[in-house]
Symmetry: C2
Subunit: 464 residues, 2 copies
């Protein structure tokens, strides 16, 4: 916490944030209008445009900013040297694909302000994940600069454009630029509020392992009348492989999958118990009622501290309108695992591939496409910045901030630790109903507004 | 067999067929250029065009022809009253969808004559199934008419346009027009040669039952980090349901599935044995080596006389390039069964639905879309027309014709029997490598040419 923390300057910054909200929203709208879908090669130019937009924004805010090419989409880096602890802020400018497009009520890349379930919101792909979130930090910097004439302390901003597609360029880039990127603490804004008006600081994150499996059989699609019965159907092979990944208790069956996975320590279990999380409300919001994970685990454990295996995509044969009696030549599945501390992604990938290979009948082959592998992470909550940020957030929101888990995978936190030996603090303002990765993604204006104010408060306490 | 069978007239007809082959091919090309994909509503107009084209063709040949509307695609009927046994010829003018389009080497609806594996062939969707085949009959009629001034005997032609999409209008139409359609024998041209130069007359056909299954879970696609572990994934439910349809011996597990299914009678088994069918060659042509059906059955049994269960289509979640960590809101499968004599399609549909319903966890629902249900059929081989046709075919081809089974489902044969009490004789000239229902469908010019000549010979012996 800086010694020269000036409550009056902070008050002026907060007032300016309130006054300038319309302009802030307009800037967010410009960024949201760029369809920077990183997984789709057709949007390569859009990713470059989003990076460029952010570089200019950073320069306007007084950062020494540059676009940094990679074999994939570029990084954007801005430096603002100054006194005190070196803080790095991370966000990502790329977004998820938008399909099924027909389920969107408005165009995903024409942002609109409308009435949402929690007051006004801005609707567009990336509104919450992660463009709206990263803009809360930039807008806090902007207000700070307008009030004090400068940015607070020693800041670096680091944006990537491949977060939604497994970040293939991230690790090599961080290794090549380790000295430039290494700071005393990283702030990551890609998570949500714990509850509607309760901010959270994430202290543990699940890892992620993705794998695409392609089972091939006949050399081409066949007529099921002519060949049905005698020709092996790769879709039949695939469903048997996938069905074998869980047992009747919802546990993953791969040998060694739970090696190193520990039960929740009693003190964390107690903290989580105190959060009065309501599984019925959480699941009810998406049309469900029954926690579907491992038998005997609480819903919070299922989403924060237990590993999972999920089918994310499945395709084979004829999928259009009507019917086609085809024996498909191939069947594909995208499968991913959420990992918890103790699990080794590469060992699990090897176990998955062995499971697939062992299940192949004659005439079938398997092809594998890896899509990212990141370990789970636990945060350094003994760093005083965690308590300072908790107090800053508590001052902005109705309820004290909570130390929580996060079921999502933010591999960057693990990379910061492994490659740069840098701890991370994850603070974000998304809400559960933001529909991230789904049609009609939105970000509540309240979250955007109070998010900007939150960063101003956090910076006042930990920067400079 | 007509008493006035005139070998000289037949010789003239055959010569004319040889001389006019180019014109015959041109007419086939015009029909193939119409993309009459019955399962796709976007091609409704094309189906109507194909029907219209055939009606005009029939009128040119001296039939009293008309388009007969149905709630789906129209029927085309032509009558030519005359002496002798009333013969009805059936074919279908609709074709399968063409996807995946990028696997076609030429446009599927721009027919081209090219060199194929068995000499020259015509390449287009529907070339073999069934436009090329039905045109063999019409071109035989044309030659007959040009030589003799009239068509032989008492002929009716009946074309439908929904064969590739479950024939929803067929049964009601046949019931409403039973008196008009009832003949003494039906000729159906929608099957293949038994071997490259060995014609076959099909004496048993499998039935077909299709069902689309939709499993729904959450009310929308979810983020697998936020909900993964706690939310039920319908793709996981679907693969378990589908994997449960076969046991380790390749048998279908639905209760009652094999009720009424009989082992092959020894005399049929002996006939089939004599055909010297080569499973290695049959499967090798499509990149396979091992018969994949029920343990302990021959490959011919697997494709002709044993029932099957196949996954024809599978789709859930994100299936595009790259990866998306989504928990899908729904998962869909198209499943079909090839049925043999003794099996009741409706009982099997009920058993399938019960299997699905019993496997549904909390929060998941199942929706079913039926796609056709036809029983298997055995033909009336004691009708002397079968032996007459066998001799006629043997005169045209290098080898005597064989009585064979057919793994495909030609529901019309069952409907002719059930609704009109009319027996069918199935004769066709397709080859195993015709790629029907697959990209790059073709029909060998040899099959087209000798197919026309074959019908001239068959008509000489059984019509008039």
């Amino acid at each position: 916490m800086p010694d020269d923390f000036d409550p009056e300057a902070l008050a002026d910054v907060l007032t300016l944030i309130d006054d300038n909200l319309e302009d802030s929203l307009e800037r967010l709208g410009s960024l949201l209008a760029i369809p920077s879908i990183s997984t789709d090669p057709a949007h390569e130019g859009d990713c470059a445009r989003a990076a460029d937009w952010l570089m200019h924004e950073l320069r306007e805010l007084g950062f020494q900013a540059s676009i940094r090419p990679t074999p994939g989409h570029p990084m954007v880096i801005g430096h603002h040297p100054g006194p005190g602890r070196h803080i790095l802020f991370y966000g990502h400018y790329d977004v998820q694909p938008v399909d099924p497009l027909d389920l969107w009520s408005t165009d995903p890349f024409t942002p609109v302000i409308e009435d949402g379930p929690n007051g006004r919101c801005i609707r567009a792909r990336g509104a919450s994940d992660d463009k709206g979130q990263l803009m809360t930090f930039l807008e806090a910097c902007r207000a700070w600069r307008e009030v004090t004439g400068s940015l607070p302390g020693n800041l670096t901003v680091f944006f990537e454009g491949e977060e939604e597609s497994g970040s293939p360029s991230l690790v090599p880039f961080m290794k090549d630029n380790a000295d430039e990127l290494r700071a005393d603490l990283a702030l990551i804004c890609d998570t949500g509020l714990f509850a509607d008006h309760t901010p959270g600081i994430v202290t543990q994150l699940r890892g992620l392992l993705g794998e695409e499996i392609v089972i091939r059989g006949p050399s081409k699609d066949l007529h099921s009348g002519m060949y049905g019965g005698a020709a092996m159907n790769p879709a039949r092979v695939l469903v048997r492989i996938l069905a074998g990944l869980h047992d009747d208790q919802g546990r993953v069956t791969l040998p060694g999958f739970y090696d190193g996975v520990e039960d929740l320590p009693p003190e964390i279990a107690a903290q989580w118990e105190a959060l009065s999380f309501d599984p019925a409300r959480f699941l009810g919001g998406v049309g469900l009622s029954t926690p579907a994970g491992e038998a005997g685990r609480s819903a919070l454990e299922m989403i924060w501290s237990r590993p999972t295996c999920e089918i994310n995509g499945l395709v084979s044969g004829y999928t259009g309108a009507g019917f086609k009696t085809v024996l498909p030549a191939e069947a594909r599945a995208k499968v991913s695992f959420r990992l918890v501390p103790g699990q080794d992604p590469q060992a699990i990938r090897a176990a998955l591939r062995a499971h697939v290979e062992a299940a192949l009948p004659p005439d079938c082959t398997a092809e594998f496409h890896p899509h990212g592998a990141s370990r789970a992470a636990r945060m350094a909550t003994d760093d005083p910045a965690f308590e300072a940020a908790r107090q800053a957030l508590g001052a902005e929101w109705d309820r004290p901030a909570a130390f929580v888990g996060c079921g999502g995978s933010i591999p960057i936190a693990g990379h910061f630790k492994t490659i740069l030996d840098m701890d991370s603090m994850l603070i974000g303002f998304g809400r559960d109903d933001d529909q991230i990765h789904s049609p009609n993604e939105k970000y509540d204006l309240e979250c955007f507004h109070k998010g900007i104010r939150s960063w101003a408060r956090v910076l006042a306490r930990i920067a400079g």
